[in-house]
């Protein structure tokens, strides 16, 4: 089938313009994408965005000389979400902060990934019973890797980054993927 920009197979299936746009954006040339992903996996740029305690361990201590995130090429902490690939949700998301977390995520360019670090980001953690806490980052945004711990060690965060790298590069077959 001749796939050109004008004659995309999806146009034969539906008339929904937004869906057509979405599919055109998502479907890429597979071999090229593999090379891209290989490169992406080795140069993830995290968003310099800390919420609570985990930010000290996940962003500061991992960047510090002891653990040194730059050995992997991930040290480029961008303060602007427009330049970041990975969002490290490090800390408790409260109801007041939730809209901003979503907005930051939406501002990040595709493709983007999210690591939920610590109990709070996974499920609200110690504060799950509170009146003002969002029970988990995945209630707001899709999460790729969960790092249990309160707070996890910097090595555990490095491990999560490497797991994310494997996922980005397609090295792992995700079991029971939905």
């Amino acid at each position: 089938m001749d796939v050109t920009r004008e004659q995309h197979p999806i146009e034969k299936m539906t008339n929904d313009s937004s869906l057509i746009q979405q599919v055109k954006r998502v479907i890429h040339l597979a071999p090229l994408e593999k090379i891209f992903n290989l490169a992406r996996g080795y140069s993830l740029w995290p968003l310099g965005f800390g919420l609570a305690c985990c930010a000290i361990e996940g962003l500061m201590a991992t960047n510090a000389p002891r653990f040194d995130l730059s050995r992997f090429g991930y040290e480029v902490l961008r303060s602007s979400p427009r330049q970041a690939d990975v969002m490290l949700v490090a800390g408790t998301i409260t109801n007041k902060m939730a809209p901003y977390v979503v907005r930051l995520y939406e501002q990040m360019p595709e493709p983007k990934w999210v690591i939920a670090m610590g109990s709070c980001a996974i499920s609200g953690g110690p504060f799950v019973d509170s009146y003002y806490v969002v029970p988990g980052a995945d209630k707001l945004i899709p999460v790729d890797v969960y790092v249990p711990g309160c707070s996890p060690r910097p090595d555990a965060v490095l491990h999560a980054f490497m797991m994310l790298r494997d996922k980005v590069q397609g090295k792992v077959v995700l079991e029971n993927a939905r």
Binding site: N95, K96, S123, G124, V128, D129, S130, Y131, Y132, V133, V134, P135, G136
Partner: protein, 150 residues
């Protein structure tokens, strides 16, 4: 602990000036709401006490009443003092101390935010921690909420 609590002679002097105050065993002073501002002004301005530092301001929701607690420190003498004001359950209001101590500003806003106690005679009494549209006052005992546990 040395120099921690206020000597009883000073308390006696205060009692003479403000007969309405009650002093408990551990030298906690309960002040009627009407006299709070003048009592606090006396504590701050009288050189015998010189309570220049309002360290803590909070409230408790007791079954019968709200209690606002003030912790004062005098840097000059090292005295500390705990003062309490009891307020009624419906529409609790107390006069603000922002004219005396700047540190009362944010702490009063916090108490307003979490307890719904109105501080009269001050500007900008808005919620500080929660967002403006939040319903209810979470630290009241009758506050109902749903947690996020699965």
């Amino acid at each position: 602990m040395p120099g921690s609590s206020i000597p009883s002679t000073v308390i006696d002097g205060l009692k003479d000036k403000f007969p309405a105050i009650e002093v408990s065993e551990n030298l906690t002073i309960t002040v009627p709401e009407a006299e709070l501002l003048s009592f606090m002004r006396e504590l701050r301005d009288n050189p015998d006490y010189d309570f220049n530092f309002l360290t803590n301001l909070t409230a408790v929701d007791y079954p019968d009443n709200f209690t606002v607690i003030y912790n004062l420190v005098s840097f000059k003498y090292g005295y500390t003092l705990m003062a309490k004001v009891n307020l009624g359950k419906d529409e609790p209001a107390v006069s603000s101390l922002t004219s005396l101590w700047g540190s009362a500003d944010w702490q009063e806003r916090e108490v307003y935010d979490l307890f719904g106690i109105i501080f009269t005679g001050r500007h900008n009494l808005t919620r500080i921690l929660l967002e403006d549209g939040f319903a209810g006052y979470p630290l009241r005992k009758d506050f109902q909420w749903v947690g996020g546990r699965e």
